[in-house]
Symmetry: C2
Subunit: 349 residues, 2 copies
């Protein structure tokens, strides 16, 4: 498998094409790739999907933290979504050929560099925290405003910039939450026909911490821009949780309160499982078994082929009786880093 690390930086900035363009430039300069971006004015948020070889994605993530500090001033920022930083959240996701441990190691390296090189304090969350599983909700309570005058003792950053104080966040960029986690479905469902109070109760009942759906985090938001009410959600580990079944369950509960889901919005890329499940329902396939999507199997095929070809070549180099020219060895090693699982590196402590 070709190793693919995904970074999903969430920036505290609404729709701004110039910002997205600059972000894309920094990502490409680091040799990684932007697969998708979403922005929302009401949320005051922009989310990128960045993929590539792990070391390149790490470099891209640090470059994006620099950009956030340069471009975003939280004192002037408004939006319904809670946030503590300009680069508010930076999850690293093992997309292919990597373990959650690899993503955790990447998160630690990136967190260290953001504190040291960018000068922004860092909290680790999810699989990157110690103990594991610290939630974003607990870090973001009260937002940037609750931190800028002085950080409460229970919320002190894990990593500080050189000369930084545990009681102070960056005056304009706050702090950054850096995490590692499995693939997640981030989605918003617009709801009509229920009061704000009912929506908040529904959200409380649906979320895992209220005894609802496992792995589901839910915010009830009332968004002024388009006069809409919204369930804004993250479904963790979307590959194992049958996300379309979760959609149906939410739709059922909204309906039983007399409301209606009018629209779904996926932030970033949709896990194939969501599309396949929804398509199986709409097309009424046998036993509602989703038809296998061509591209998911194609991605596996391509990854396998590239890795096999690279492995065979490295084997030929190892067994070569004659000396291999030095310039060629360097090029071969570059290819090995791109197409093969890199040898395990020591995690940064």
């Amino acid at each position: 498998m070709i190793p693919v690390l995904e970074a999903v930086p969430n920036f505290s900035i609404g729709p701004d094409p110039a910002f997205v363009e600059q972000a894309r430039d920094r990502v490409e300069a680091a040799g990684a790739e932007v697969l998708d971006h979403s922005s929302d004015a009401d949320h005051g948020r922009t989310v990128l999907t960045v993929v590539g070889a792990p070391a390149r994605v790490e470099n891209a993530a640090v470059a994006l933290a620099h950009l956030a500090v340069e471009r975003i001033d939280l004192r002037k920022h408004g939006g319904a979504h809670p946030r503590v930083g300009a680069l508010d959240v930076l999850p690293l996701v093992p997309l292919a050929g990597l373990s959650l441990e690899d993503a955790r190691d990447s998160a630690h390296r990136v967190g260290n560099r953001i504190a040291a090189e960018v000068g922004v304090p860092v909290w680790f969350y999810a699989e990157a925290s110690e103990p594991r599983g610290r939630s974003l909700a607990e870090l973001r309570r009260g937002g940037f405003e609750a931190l800028v005058g002085g950080v409460p003792p229970g919320r002190r950053p894990d990593l500080l910039p050189d000369g930084g104080s545990p009681d102070r966040v960056h005056p304009t960029a706050g702090g950054a939450c850096v995490g590692a986690r499995p693939l997640l479905l981030a989605w918003n469902l617009d709801v009509v026909g229920v009061s704000g109070e009912t929506l908040r109760r529904l959200a409380a009942e649906l979320r895992e911490s209220g005894g609802g759906i496992q792995g589901l985090r839910v915010l009830a938001l009332e968004l002024p821009g388009q006069r809409r009410s919204q369930l804004s959600m993250n479904l963790e580990n979307a590959r194992s949780r049958k996300p379309f079944a979760v959609f149906e369950e939410i739709e059922r509960r909204v309906k039983s309160e007399g409301g209606r889901v009018t629209r779904t919005e996926v932030i970033g890329l949709a896990p194939d499982e969501l599309l396949e499940g929804a398509a199986a329902d709409r097309l009424r396939t046998l036993d509602r078994t989703p038809p296998p999507a061509l591209s998911s199997l194609l991605a596996l095929h391509l990854s396998r082929r590239a890795s096999e070809a690279a492995t065979a070549l490295m084997e030929a180099v190892r067994c070569c009786p004659e000396p291999v020219p030095a310039t060629l060895v360097a090029a071969l090693e570059a290819m090995e880093r791109e197409l093969l699982n890199p040898p395990k590196r020591e995690p940064v402590e």
Copy 2:
């Protein structure tokens, strides 16, 4: 782009796990990969999806033609689907990094080898015929039974086995239709609530040749096994034709005749466009814009990365001032064949 050729062999054999296992073995021995297989007892048909580097898929296709002759006797075969051969249809599809011309060249090479090495007469169809665009319907009219006693003058094979006669097909394996075409959606919709006569009229109205939907081929089938009526369809060039919109149009017409579509079955792999369209409808995404599927962009990303890494390496070899050991040159060339578009070869006439 890593070049990926797809072959979708249609065999005249119903569900038979041993046959599928043998087919898989032959494909893997040729260095290609089976991504999917479907079988249907009523149709008396088994369809494989095979992918890989072009030369490997060509070898796999010839190996599968051998297997079909060894294992299938059309004199004992029954099924609702029209067919003229044991390996009835062999389309080659340029899945990634290849043109339709490349697939046409592959079809000509494979057709020549099936006639010469396997001893089965071959017709070319779709983009592989001369003039282009010959239809399967015209080749398969009357089935194997119409050919085995003597081939009508208008249906003579394009390629004959050594010593073969244009008036004779293979006594147990018939002939093989070998073609090149873009990605196609093959699907069956089960229909209730309309008579057989109405279904046949609907099929005639829906198909392109009856002035219906462009690129749509439709058979009305009454299948005894599960007492169902079926519209069995191919939608050509599924990537540009919005396959879910076609589904909705068919559903609407069935409904206006008082019937109902109870079930959809996709043969082989579903083009992402079908799943994305159906999911957008079911999830009510904004403007029914499908959420981008992770794996379709991931496949592009992987292909790009592998090709770039391979290109950089080949460039390093070309610019290497010292001599490159011969064993290494062979391994490099093998990788080039796998991961880069191969240099244009002369088509076989």
